[in-house]
Structures are given as structure tokens and as C-alpha cells.
């Protein structure tokens, strides 16, 4: 495994080295990250980055297939417009994680900030997924047009596991939350839908991965506890205008 020391490197210097090394290295470990931005941006499949220290904002922006494992916390904008690949964060992540995400998966051990999953997209086979172990801030899944968000709420009551205005402006995709969450926490464009066979299959698959990545006992999570939320309609603002 290639090891890089990020100490005293600017983000541009560091990212130039990563871009150069990634095509020929299967695994790169980066030590002493000090908030450098855009780590792993646009990287293609074939390389896994192991990050030690604090990766800065916009981690994996526009990422296109690579894998990233963060040993601790991540900051804002993780997976901004990410297209493909996987990120595993062994701590918490900041605001707007998964902004306009188009594909790939992000696993976060504990909590995430505001406006996570905003504008997530989906088309055909490309279905982006966020799996959040702890709780999420306000406006989770805002304007969501596709994709999947799963909130496990480990260590929180269901009510605390999401903030307010969840799914405001949502017109595609689905959000799964463990436990009974009061209706006032959701935007008015969201409704609860019955869980189906397919939903359980998806949850099982993703939660299994979560438990494996973060060494959490699968038996502590009962799939029957999940609720599914979907948009009321595909055109939340269809009646707003006088034609």
C-alpha cells in the first residue's frame, strides 16, 4: 500500500499526487490530513483511499468509482455530485453530504449535518444511497429526485433521528427511518408508504454492509421497525402556476 503524508501539503499539491498515483495503485493511505479539500474528486474505480486525519470539504466531489475509507470524521459536502464509488466514514459527517449524488454509496457510522441528500438523483441502474448510522439534521432529502436514504438512528430516539422538514420538495426516491417518527418532522410533500418485500431486501443488504464496516451487531437492528417515506407526487409544484 502506498503511503502519503499530507502534512503541510496544500490541497492542490496533495490532489495532484493522488491523481497521479491512483491509476497505478490499488490502495493509498494518506496520513495527517489537515482539512485539505476535494480529496478523491473525480477518481475512477480501481483505487481505495484510506484517510487518516480530517479530510476537508467536498470530499469525493464528482467521484467516479473509487473507494474511500475515512478513519475518523468528515466535513461538509461529502460526495458532492458523486457519480459512482463508495465512501465509508468511521465517524460523523457535516452538512449537504450527497448533494445531487447520482450513484454510489456512502456509509456514515454516526451522525450527519443539515440538508443531507439534497437533490439526489436516479436513473435506471444508477441509484445513489446514503446509509446513516446515527441521526440527520434538518432538511434531510430536500428536493430529492431519486435515490435511497437509510437512517438507523443508533443511540437516538426515532424522533431525534431526523431534524425538521425532512423531504421538503421531494419528488422522487425513498427515505427509510427506523422507528416511529412524528409527522410534523416531514415536509408537506412527503407521505409514508407501506414496506414491501423489495424494501426489506434492500434494507437487509445495506444494513448488513453497515454492520460489517462498523462492527455493529446486526441482531440489534430489527428490519420490522423501519418506515418508508416517499413523495406524495412527482410534481410538488405542478399547481402553483397560472398558465
Amino acid at each position: 500500500m502506498k503511503v502519503l503524508d499530507a502534512h503541510k501539503l496544500s490541497y492542490r499539491e496533495l490532489n495532484d499526487i493522488i491523481k497521479e498515483e491512483a491509476p497505478r495503485e490499488k490502495e493509498i493511505k494518506i496520513k495527517n490530513l489537515r482539512g485539505q479539500r476535494y480529496i478523491g474528486g473525480t477518481l475512477k474505480e480501481g483505487c481505495t483511499l484510506y484517510l487518516d486525519g480530517i479530510p476537508g470539504n467536498d470530499l469525493a466531489s464528482f467521484m467516479n468509482g473509487a473507494h474511500i475509507v475515512v478513519s475518523g470524521n468528515a466535513q461538509d459536502g461529502v460526495g458532492n455530485t458523486m457519480n459512482k464509488g463508495e465512501i465509508v466514514i468511521h465517524g460523523h459527517a457535516g452538512d449537504i453530504m450527497g448533494y445531487a449524488m447520482r450513484g454510489g454509496e456512502i456509509y456514515v457510522k454516526t451522525d450527519v449535518g443539515y440538508r443531507v441528500g439534497i437533490h439526489m438523483k436516479e436513473f435506471g441502474e444508477q441509484i445513489p444511497m446514503l446509509i446513516i448510522g446515527g441521526s440527520a439534521g434538518n432538511f434531510l432529502g430536500e428536493y430529492m429526485a431519486g435515490g435511497v436514504i437509510i437512517v438507523l438512528g443508533i443511540g437516538d430516539s426515532p424522533e431525534e433521528s431526523i431534524g425538521n422538514f425532512c423531504g421538503t420538495g421531494m419528488h422522487g426516491g425513498r427515505i427509510y427511518i427506523r422507528g416511529e417518527v412524528p409527522a410534523f418532522k416531514f415536509g408537506k410533500e412527503v407521505k409514508e408508504a407501506a414496506m414491501e418485500e423489495e424494501d426489506y431486501r434492500l434494507l437487509k443488504d445495506k444494513i448488513k454492509k453497515y454492520c460489517k464496516y462498523f462492527d455493529y451487531p446486526m441482531k440489534k437492528i430489527n428490519l420490522e421497525d423501519f418506515h418508508k417515506y416517499v413523495p406524495i407526487g412527482s410534481r410538488p409544484y405542478g399547481n402553483l402556476y397560472a398558465y
Binding site: Y11, R12, N15, K19, R37, Y38, G41, T42, N57, D58, S61, F62, M63, N64, D76, G77, N80, T81, N83, I96, Y99, A100, R102, R115, I118, H119, K121, E122, F123, G124, Q126, E142, Y143, A145, G146, G169, H171, G172, S234, R235, P236, Y237, G238, N239, L240, Y241, A242, Y243
Partner: protein, 501 residues
């Protein structure tokens, strides 16, 4: 909607002697105006639906049709004009937000028409562009503070990435979704042929247009439709859309009717949903955040493309432009209050923003005062109607202009301003296959190339008349401008003298 209390806006006059009941108008009108009555065996019109798009009139083989303003005025009233009453009644019928297409049509002053150009007489003789070289080439992007030349005469300074234009004009951002794929293709092919650029707008880039990427500016807006690493790397430049002149401060909704298969695939959203772009990018709440996105895009495109930031011309545009320059943008695009749109809330379009003429001079002044004018190029947009407007914009301080409405007019748009209905009878602002076919991309391209070719000749002619042989010598050269019918305050802001001074 039930009973409407309004009389039709237009009257469809069919000359009975000329009409041969061929039903061309019935098939051509997308608004369900003309219909053939089987019993009467005659064509009739539902006049209340007519939007005066001229399609049936132009295609009627016997010239039997005339569309007129309906000859029924409301009782005269300077406060309550016809349009005010109509709009109010429409809202009373629907309870909705009024929507409009294209730019602000209100009778507010067009300052281009109050600015006059100079020409040489006797001294500094004029130049004849037909016989002498005349340079319109324009580079957009960050220019260095100084140039370092090596002993061998080679350039030592590293030049930031630039867009190279054969003339200071580009085609504005119009998304695939708001306009048809054929219309996008016309813009792309014409840009390539002319050696300029078109802008994708925020709807992503359709696969079939990848081959024109060298003449494409790819846009990134708050909805991030169609944005991925390939899109960012393939374009010649990248533009962050913050605002649009027709609707400053608000986002966009592409109505679900326009989100068909190809549009949905390009934007990566479900079929038939509204494509929503909220007003803010939710990762940009400050100039520092803007810098973060600018550099995210530069990282993603290996610092090989200039990054533009597009804003609407609003009250404190100069301060905002300074912030944008300092945030690291290479180009600032400013869209004036007359800028066009596929759909905007009428009240916003007609009441928000400032004229582009003032915005150009305010921004140019501010950037010069701060000593950072070289760090960014300024592109002006919003109702550039002809070559003289371009010359005036450049003399006021713009590096180049974007044209949108003018480009669509060249393709055949008749400015009916109903783009938001998704039924454009000229095949431009629609996604309905039978309408899209009406725009022949080859003919469209030819017409657009003709337009810009004509404009290039005219610009050279005007420059020659001033005794100037390169567009670069005109940039910010406000001595070449004089104002008529302007207050001294307005002249001050424009930085020009009154005619006769």
C-alpha cells in the same frame, strides 16, 4: 377551468374567399385554435386559445389568415391598463402565480437606444474593413498582471486557460429541456462553424452533442442536472449559474410536461417530474463558499478550463462582481433585467433587477478601481438585439456578450412568449416530437450562422468608422459613446458624456 370572463386576446380572421379548407392550420396550431367541423365541413377557430405565434398565418397556402389584436379595449384608464386587468382576472380564475416566457416586455427605457456611437471625420481617419485587416478575436479568461518574455523571445508567463472567440459573442445558456434537442444542436453546430461557444444551460449535455464539446460551455446550477466528471472535463469552459436576469433571486422549475425520456435521462430525474432548481446552491451561502465550488470545478477539470460565474444584474452588482473575481472566477457573466427565459414568474421578471447597460459600467468601474479588472473577463447578456448593441456593450466595458433571444429568433422564434407551455409551434421551446421536427437543424444552423456573419461585418464597419482596427481597442473605451435623453446622473453612472459634449 370553467367560465372565463375575458374576451379573447386575438382575433382570427379567415378570408372565406381564400380559405380552401385544407386543414393546414388545424394540424399546425398546437394551441387547439383551428378545428374542422365535420357537419359544416368547414374550419372554425377557438379564438380564446390563440397566442399569436404566426405559425398558421405563415403556413396557410392561400394566405387566408390574419391574426389581429382583438378589437375590444377596456374603457380607458391610465392606472388599470388592459394587461393589468387581464392578469388579475387570470389569477382570480386560477389562484396561481403568473408565468411568462422570454424577457421583460414592459415599456421601460432601453438604454442602448439612448447611447450613440462615434465616428472619425478628417482626423484619425476611418478604416475600410473590406480592404484592411480588422480584428474581432476575443479571449475570455484571467489575464496576467504582467508578461515575462525570455531572452529568446519566448513567453515565460503561464497564461490561464482562455476561451478563444472569433467575435465577442456567444450563445446564452438555454437548457435541453427548456429548448428542444434540435435547437441545442443548432446552437452547437453554429458555434462550431463560427468559432465561438454556446452554453448548455443547466440541463446537462445530451450524448449526441458531445462532439461539439470544444465549443461548449457547460453549466452547473443548483439542481446539478447532468453534472459529472466527464461533463466537466469535456467542455471548453464551465459556468456556475447563480442567477438569471429574467428571474433574479429565484430558481427554476422545468415543468413535468417537458421532462420526457431523453430529458429525464440527461438530467437523471424521473420521467414527468418537475425539474427543480432552487434559488440558492445549498453549498453556497457566501463568497468563500462560492470559492469552494469554483475550485471544486477547477480541481475536477485539472485547472484546464476557465470558470465563469453567472449572476443577474441586481442593485449591488458591482460589489458582488468584485467578490466573484476575488473568489477565483475567470469570467463573470451578468444578465440584465431584460434577459430571456423559458419560464419565469411574471412579477419577478417584470420588476426585479437593473438594466444591463448600467451593470456593465458599474462592474467595469469597480473592478478597475480595485485593480482587479485583468483577473476576470466580463460577459454581458440580456436583450442584446443587434451588432450595435454589442459594440456599445464592449465600449461600456464588456469583453463579450451572450445572445439568447436573438439566436432563437434567427431559428424562427416569433416571440409569442409562451415557451412555458411546452408547445412552441416553431419547434424550439418544446419536447413534443411532432413539434420538435418543425425545426430543421441544418436550416436553423445556416440562419444562425448568417446572422452572426452579418453582425461581424457590421461590427467591423462600425469599428472602422471609429478609426479602430481591433475590438480590443474599443473595450471600455467610453469616449466612443454619447448619451441622448439621459439625466446627468445616468450619464455619470454610464460613464459617458452627453451628445454635443
Amino acid at each position: 377551468m370553467g367560465f372565463s370572463m375575458l374576451a379573447p386576446e386575438y382575433r382570427v380572421d379567415r378570408d372565406k374567399d381564400r380559405c380552401i379548407d385544407c386543414k393546414v392550420c388545424v394540424t399546425q396550431c398546437p394551441y387547439d385554435v383551428h378545428y374542422f367541423d365535420e357537419e359544416e365541413e368547414k374550419v372554425f377557430a377557438r379564438e380564446e386559445n390563440c397566442v399569436n405565434c404566426h405559425r398558421c398565418v405563415v403556413l396557410c397556402p392561400t394566405r387566408a389568415l390574419i391574426i389581429r389584436k382583438y378589437p375590444l379595449e377596456f374603457r380607458e384608464n391610465s392606472a388599470w391598463k388592459d394587461i393589468d386587468i387581464r392578469q388579475l382576472q387570470k389569477q382570480a380564475e386560477t389562484g396561481g402565480i403568473l408565468l411568462s416566457g422570454m424577457g421583460n416586455p414592459k415599456p421601460l427605457p432601453v438604454f442602448w437606444d439612448k447611447i450613440l456611437l462615434n465616428a472619425s471625420q478628417v482626423t484619425n481617419p476611418s478604416i475600410d474593413p473590406l480592404r484592411e485587416p480588422m480584428e474581432l478575436k476575443t479571449f475570455l479568461g484571467r489575464k496576467p498582471e504582467r508578461l515575462e518574455i525570455g531572452c529568446d523571445g519566448s513567453l515565460k508567463t503561464k497564461i490561464s486557460p482562455q476561451l478563444e472567440l472569433s467575435a465577442p459573442v456567444m450563445f446564452s445558456a438555454m437548457s435541453f429541456g427548456s429548448i428542444s434537442l434540435n435547437a441545442c444542436r443548432v446552437l452547437a453546430e453554429a458555434a462550431e462553424q463560427l468559432g465561438i461557444y454556446y452554453n448548455t444551460g443547466e440541463g446537462g449535455l445530451h450524448q449526441s452533442l458531445f462532439k461539439f464539446a470544444d465549443h461548449t460551455v457547460v453549466q452547473v446550477a443548483s439542481g446539478r442536472f447532468g453534472v459529472n466528471s466527464e461533463y466537466l472535463k469535456i467542455g471548453a469552459g464551465i459556468e456556475i449559474k447563480i442567477g438569471q436576469g429574467a428571474k433574479p433571486g429565484i430558481g427554476g422549475h422545468l415543468p413535468g410536461e417537458k421532462v420526457r425520456e431523453e430529458v429525464a435521462a440527461t438530467r437523471m430525474i424521473p420521467l414527468g417530474t418537475d425539474a427543480i432548481s432552487p434559488a440558492p446552491h445549498h453549498d453556497i451561502y457566501s463568497i468563500e463558499d462560492l470559492r469552494q465550488l469554483i475550485f471544486a470545478l477547477k480541481e475536477a477539470s485539472d485547472y484546464e478550463k476557465p470558470v465563469s460565474v453567472k449572476i443577474a444584474a441586481v442593485h449591488n452588482v458591482a460589489a458582488i462582481a468584485s467578490g466573484i473575481a476575488r473568489a477565483g472566477a475567470d469570467i463573470i457573466t451578468i444578465d440584465g433585467f431584460r434577459g430571456g427565459t423559458g419560464a419565469a414568474p411574471t412579477r419577478i421578471r417584470d420588476n426585479v433587477g437593473i438594466p444591463i447597460e448600467f451593470a456593465i459600467s458599474a462592474v467595469d468601474n469597480r473592478l478597475k478601481e480595485e485593480g482587479i479588472r485583468n483577473q476576470v473577463s466580463v460577459v454581458a447578456a440580456g436583450s442584446i438585439r443587434n451588432s450595435a448593441d454589442i459594440v456599445k456593450a464592449v465600449a461600456l466595458g464588456a469583453d463579450a456578450v451572450y445572445i439568447g433571444t436573438a439566436a432563437l429568433l434567427a431559428m424562427g422564434c416569433h416571440l409569442c412568449r409562451k415557451c412555458y407551455m411546452g408547445k412552441c409551434s416553431w419547434g424550439i421551446a418544446t419536447q413534443q416530437p411532432h413539434l420538435v421536427k418543425r425545426l430543421n437543424p441544418e436550416i436553423g444552423r445556416e440562419r444562425l450562422v448568417n446572422l452572426i456573419t452579418g453582425w461581424k461585418h457590421e461590427i467591423k464597419e462600425i469599428l472602422g468608422g471609429m478609426g479602430i482596427n481591433a475590438i480590443d481597442s474599443l473595450r471600455g473605451n467610453r469616449h466612443m459613446l454619447r448619451g441622448v435623453d439621459l439625466s446627468s446622473r445616468e450619464l455619470d453612472i454610464l460613464g459617458i458624456k452627453a451628445a454635443g459634449e
